[in-house]
């Protein structure tokens, strides 16, 4: 798939992952969140020389381990066995999160429940009555990297926009998201505006009609 600004079809999950992968600058240090963002690694090319960070203490993470390469001492943040690439480094948890919090990662890609027009992110807690909260590294990831990108479906099952004026889920991090990849559009949040970089299977006008924030065609 090519990066045209308008396509008739919606993006598949792989399309989205591929677009994210293509947008990651060469040589970048990147953390890919659990779930959909993990898929981005499948589309990174060797030429890009991207180094993957996993917050449980490693830079230079390789692909998921299979067969005899599985080693219970070598896992990613999703607790999946992974591999080690040449030039990797291990460090402890405080050093790993210092690396994130200190702004040393170039890009972090996360899933989301909602993103507000000012880049506030909700992805850790539904806020539902009786739900047991769990946060893990979500808040650290959200605010740590130089750029935080979100991958999500734009609409809920009932058709509500997850790009909102203000969050109605509990906040993960304030003003941290700068880009949103969805199946129907890619958004860039900057200069206090929401720009639409591309639309897929929807027109800009339709999109604007369904999203409750002012959009600008980039």
């Amino acid at each position: 798939m090519t990066d045209t600004r308008t396509t008739e079809d919606k993006l598949t999950r792989d399309d989205m992952a591929q677009l994210v992968a293509r947008d990651i600058p060469a040589g970048a240090f990147v953390n890919l969140g659990i779930g959909q963002p993990t898929n981005v690694s499948n589309f990174l090319t060797a030429d890009q020389q991207v180094t993957l960070h996993t917050e449980n203490g490693m830079l230079g993470m390789g692909p998921v381990a299979t067969g005899e390469d599985i080693d219970e001492d070598l896992i990613n943040a999703g607790k999946i066995p992974v591999t080690e690439l040449p030039g990797a480094a291990y460090f402890h948890h405080a050093d790993s999160f210092a690396m994130m919090r200190g702004g040393h990662l170039d890009v972090c890609v996360l899933g989301a429940f909602q993103v507000s027009q000012s880049g506030d992110l909700a992805n850790w807690h539904t806020g539902a009555e009786g739900a047991i909260p769990a946060v893990g590294g979500a808040m650290d990831l959200a605010i740590g990297a130089k750029a935080t990108w979100v991958m999500m479906s734009l609409f809920t099952k009932t058709g509500e926009s997850k790009l909102v004026e203000t969050l109605n889920y509990p906040v993960t991090g304030l003003g941290c998201v700068s880009r949103i990849y969805t199946e129907v559009a890619i958004f860039e949040l900057r200069d206090a505006k929401v720009f639409v970089r591309s639309v897929h299977g929807i027109s800009f006008d339709e999109l604007q009609a369904r999203v409750p924030v002012e959009l600008t065609w980039a």
Binding site: D73, L74, I75, H93, A134, V135, D140, P170
Partner: protein
């Protein structure tokens, strides 16, 4: 003081008493001191405060301690998992207290305890539910939350090797919380695959200096 070399995991945890605060290393299975946790289960200590990234999984280790209501409070970042049923049940029954901490703040609070820091301003969690009731401050235009050190009576950790002075090396991502937990507890109890002679770990490669290690037990295994 060179660490005590315990003969069994049971012997290693023998001094843990009721009401203790215990840091338990590991992230997933990597670095989790399974045998020490099992020994803690056996030793009977109760009314514990446990600090771990998670809140136990399935029917083993920490989950069993929670099932038996031996843990009065857990400080962790990610208690809810598909197989954390014992925690879920205790929590919904109001029989365990939960202090939920973002993972990086958890790590930094443990490090702060070991480093003698009285508190620190972290941007993580600012503006969220987890900062409620905490002191906040805007520094150079960015919001921060004041977080406090987590001191403990004991740390239970797993390393790859110890020398007889207690110097430790770890293996891959099993390093995770071990090095910082060792610094934050009055007594760090460490299970290793093997204990080697002093001098066989290069001083450049030591990750946890022996000063932080109180008890070592060699359990074999490993790669």
């Amino acid at each position: 003081m060179a660490p005590r070399i315990a003969s069994t995991a049971t012997d290693a945890v023998a001094e843990i008493s009721d009401g203790s605060t215990i840091l338990i290393g590991g992230f997933g299975n990597a670095g989790q001191p399974m045998e020490l946790i099992d020994a803690l289960m056996e030793c009977g200590a109760t009314d514990l405060t446990v600090v771990n990234n998670n809140a136990g999984q399935a029917d083993a280790g920490l989950a069993l301690l929670i099932k038996e209501r031996r843990v009065k409070k857990i400080i962790c970042s990610f208690p809810r998992q598909s197989d954390s049923w014992h925690f879920d049940e205790a929590y919904r029954a109001g029989e365990i207290e939960l202090e939920l901490v973002p993972q990086g703040n958890l790590a930094e609070r443990i490090r702060a305890a070991g480093a003698g820091i009285g508190g620190f301003f972290t941007p993580t969690g600012y503006g969220t539910l987890l900062a409620e009731g905490k002191e906040t401050r805007v520094i150079d235009g960015k919001g921060y939350v004041l977080e406090t050190p987590i001191h403990a009576d004991f740390a239970l950790i797993k390393a790859l090797k110890a020398d007889t002075f207690g110097n430790l090396v770890y293996r891959k991502t099993a390093r995770n919380f071990g090095p910082i937990m060792a610094t934050a507890a009055k007594a760090a109890i460490v299970q290793v695959d093997e204990v080697v002679e002093v001098g066989s770990i290069d001083p450049e490669h030591v990750i946890t200096p022996g000063i932080y290690v109180d008890t070592v037990v060699a359990l074999g295994g490993g790669k």
